[in-house]
């Protein structure tokens, strides 16, 4: 009986120690992952941008909306041009995907971001205009390994279209 009680106590102690090790990392919340941006430097010093980007954006927003001033320096579109990392598909990362510059930091800071309830969360990449990196082109490139399959698909598409036209 006494042995049993001791064993139970030991098991409890071991469990408690395990829980403590698991729940006590050095820093409380991991720092946000900041994706690499295009270009050499931001439109202002990063320290200034961190503190004031919302003021710049708001000022620009009113000027653009009401006076049609469309300079790009402080525009949201321009932020995303440089800060939205481009995926392998040639498209930039959208807000709902992981790795969005604005979202990553705002989630960490616990500040709700309203911009993207209306605004596009990524630029419509110029890469999409290039025939070789359009979504269609990308799928073709992937199919290149097996050129027979590619030919079959092209043939199938043609016959399908011919059938539809008749």
């Amino acid at each position: 009986m006494a042995m049993n009680g001791l064993a139970r106590l030991l098991r409890l102690a071991a469990g408690a120690a395990l829980v403590l090790t698991l729940s006590a990392p050095a820093s409380a919340v991991p720092l946000p992952e900041i994706p690499e941006a295009k270009g050499e430097h931001c439109v202002e010093d990063p320290a200034v941008m961190r503190k004031k980007h919302m003021d710049y954006l708001k000022h620009q927003r009113d000027e653009t909306m009401h006076q049609g001033i469309r300079t790009t320096k402080y525009s949201l579109k321009q932020c995303l041009e440089c800060h939205a990392p481009v995926k392998e598909s040639g498209q930039a990362v959208a807000q709902e995907e992981s790795g969005h510059f604005c979202k990553n930091c705002h989630v960490y800071a616990g500040v709700k971001i309203d911009c993207f309830e209306c605004h596009a969360t990524r630029p419509e990449g110029n890469a999409n205009f290039h025939p070789m990196v359009t979504p269609g082109g990308v799928s073709l490139n992937k199919a290149r390994d097996d050129s027979g399959a590619l030919l079959n698909r092209v043939a199938a598409a043609h016959s399908e279209q011919a059938g539809a036209n008749q």
């Binding site: 927003r61 009401h66 006076q67 049609g68 579109k77 995303l80 959208a94 309830e117 209306c118 596009a120």
Partner: protein, 251 residues
């Protein structure tokens, strides 16, 4: 909006004249030929020296053709192409431009016209807006500032042209040039971003029969001013005295 900050006009005039001398191709005294509408520099505010307008020739507008509607959807990301608003019914979904079919009761003559925001000189939507979100830009384009729109929809009730829509659902994948979102009212913007870049609105560009003429109603030398001076045209419901920027021929 007349007390808006205006740029130094003398400097603009100087620049315009300089550009005219340097780049303008003179085909006759006082007549200059430019490739497109001159784009305003990006850092300069719009002025009331310009009033953008459209003239729709309903004789050219083909029955059953909706190229302008399709082009507007594509340019501004609304309609079935956006894949959003799946819970809204047809009356609730956004509609920036629509085709209206007309039929004369006595003669049976049928024709059609595109209907969108008429960009009134005295917009009733802006009159009733409690927050100032509905406004007319100095160059005559009537817009909704969605940053301050509270979605009360007074403007929708005030508009005699049924030109405005309310977004009932959360949207995703908006076009970068046309932000749209739940809880705000929206309407034709005359493709304001394109106009600011010196381009013509998407509906004008897309019309297969060139039924829509776009230009500056205040410039006596613009094609639209010359056409409205030469041929009869009318606003829809001219009795309301709103002086719309969109005029129609043949109705």
């Amino acid at each position: 909006m007349s007390e808006q900050k205006q740029p130094d006009q003398s400097r603009r005039d100087f620049l315009t004249k300089g550009a005219t001398a340097a780049a303008g191709l003179s085909i006759a005294p006082g007549v200059l030929l430019f490739g497109a509408v001159n784009a305003r520099p990006a850092d300069q505010a719009v002025t009331d020296q310009v009033r953008w307008g459209m003239l729709v020739d309903t004789n050219k507008c083909a029955n059953g053709c909706d190229a302008c509607v399709t082009a507007c959807k594509k340019e501004n990301g609304w309609g079935e192409q956006s894949g959003d608003e799946s819970h809204s019914n047809e009356l609730q979904k956004s509609q920036w431009i629509r085709k209206v079919e007309l039929r004369h009761k006595q003669t049976g003559f049928a024709h059609s016209l595109p209907m969108m925001c008429q960009h009134c000189e005295h917009p009733p939507c802006a009159d009733v807006c409690p927050t100032g979100a509905s406004f007319k830009r100095a160059d005559g384009i009537v817009l909704v500032d969605k940053h301050i729109c509270i979605g009360c929809r007074f403007c929708m009730m005030a508009c005699p042209y049924k030109a405005r829509s309310f977004v009932h659902e959360e949207l995703t994948h908006q076009r970068p040039n046309a932000p749209r979102g739940k809880g705000t009212v929206e309407a034709c913007t005359m493709c304001v971003g394109r106009v600011d870049a010196g381009l013509r609105p998407a509906c004008v560009e897309s019309c297969p029969s060139q039924a829509i003429l776009f230009g500056d109603l205040k410039d006596p030398n613009s094609e639209i001013s010359k056409t409205v001076a030469k041929y009869a045209s009318t606003a829809i419901r001219p009795d309301l005295g709103l002086n719309p920027g969109v005029r129609y021929q043949g109705i």
